[in-house]
């Protein structure tokens, strides 16, 4: 990668760039460049390598947003590790009447293992709270959280995040695995979408009864 490409929000895409450029055109502002991300991920990997030396940790990620960060992170870790993924339902139009559940469970037992849960972004902490509670019941030796992005001002739950890459302001961001409507995950940087891109959807009318 040339120096110019590193500093640019666009990666050295070979061939037809039309589609990629259309994604970049939707970005209003680049908050964290690809270079900044890679540098910080390397620091986090080095720190994890030191603190988990001799512990054979299992890194657990939740699909899908974390896959980019996980792929880069594990390549900066210099000690033996295991990697596994879980999947959970995400709240959305099709899930309004259900409750969160696992769509993919771990394929590795975490009992008596040092588990590092890897998350792309922690904001309200609602989904993280659910996942940690579930993982904790499986009796790992330790369970810590590593998040590339944290939005502390959005946090509703007191959840300890041991490793944080960047703290973000309360803005909706995309790129580096983070999506809006399943797009923009493949951007190598993190940015804010233009207002015109974000479609407002009409909330169904009526009220809901009961509490959880």
């Amino acid at each position: 990668m040339s120096d110019r490409a590193k500093d640019s929000p666009t990666p050295p895409v070979v061939g037809n760039r039309e589609g990629y450029n259309s994604l970049v055109d939707d970005i209003d502002e680049v908050l964290i460049t690809a270079e900044q991300i890679q540098a910080r991920v390397a620091e986090m990997g080095a720190q994890i390598s030191v603190e988990y030396a001799g512990k054979d940790p299992l890194l657990v990620g939740v699909l899908r947003g974390v896959f980019v960060f996980m792929a880069d992170l594990v390549r900066t870790i210099t000690i033996p590790i295991g990697v596994d993924f879980i999947g959970i339902t995400r709240y959305g139009p099709s899930a309004q009447k259900g409750v969160v559940r696992f769509t993919k469970d771990l394929e590795t037992s975490i009992q008596d293992r040092h588990v590092l849960f890897v998350e792309d972004v922690v904001d309200t902490g609602m989904s993280l709270r659910y996942i940690l509670r579930s993982l904790q019941t499986r009796e790992p030796t330790s369970l810590k959280v590593c998040a590339l992005f944290s939005k502390p001002h959005s946090r509703l739950f007191d959840l300890e995040v041991a490793y944080i890459g960047f703290e973000l302001a309360d803005r909706f961001v995309v790129g580096y695995g983070l999506d809006y409507d399943e797009r923009y995950r493949n951007l190598p940087f993190v940015g804010v979408l233009k207002d015109r891109v974000i479609t407002r959807r009409k909330l169904p009318t009526g009220t809901q009864s009961g509490s959880a």
Partner: protein, 191 residues
């Protein structure tokens, strides 16, 4: 609300504490303090030495909960999805009293997250329009320092809306009537 403070005035002891003076402690990462407010014109009012919150009738089960804004309903659905136990406006906190000890300002946060012992107030007003709510939050923290309350601002609500692709009507109130309705949301009493 059944336990409206206006219907259940709380009598206090004579106390000329200037509760609007000084700096209220803002919870870390939860309250964005607005510019310093001028000293309250109610400085000579009476306030109990130990103000007590009023427990509202628990709203749960099959009772219809009248959400005052679509964003509140949407937020409740998200909480339900993540199996987070919540209550709707379970508590009213008296904040200011007149000289006879009647409550004249109170605050009823929209949600209470049981497991977190955390109150949440949603607002979809622009930042510039939340002065009253910020003031109430400061008074709440001053009078009830053990109570944790987070004010979710419009940008927070919008972020959730975008993230989950659900909230439709998160626009800020634009007319005087809408703003007034938002301010009065949750049986809050104002000066």
């Amino acid at each position: 609300m059944d336990a409206s403070p206006s219907e259940t005035p709380m009598k206090g002891t004579k106390d000329s504490a200037h509760y609007a003076e000084g700096s209220a402690q803002c919870a870390e990462g939860t309250v964005e303090c607005a510019e310093p407010e001028p000293t309250s014109t109610l400085a000579t009012s009476t306030r109990p030495q130990r103000p007590q919150p009023i427990r509202n009738p628990k709203q749960h089960g099959d009772e219809a909960i009248p959400f005052s804004h679509p964003s509140e309903e949407a937020f409740a659905r998200v909480l339900d999805f993540y199996q987070i136990q919540w209550e709707r406006e379970p508590t009213t906190f008296p904040l200011e009293w007149d000289e006879e000890g009647h409550v004249i300002t109170a605050f009823s946060p929209d949600f209470y997250l049981v497991s977190e012992d955390l109150y949440i107030e949603l607002t979809t007003m622009k930042q510039s329009l939340v002065k009253k709510k910020n003031r109430k939050l400061r008074l709440l923290h001053e009078l009830y320092p053990d109570v944790r309350c987070k004010l979710m601002y419009r940008k927070d609500v919008m972020n959730l809306a975008v993230k989950y692709g659900l909230f439709g009507d998160t626009r800020e109130p634009s007319t005087e009537g809408e703003i007034e309705a938002e301010e009065e949301n949750g049986s809050e009493l104002d000066e």
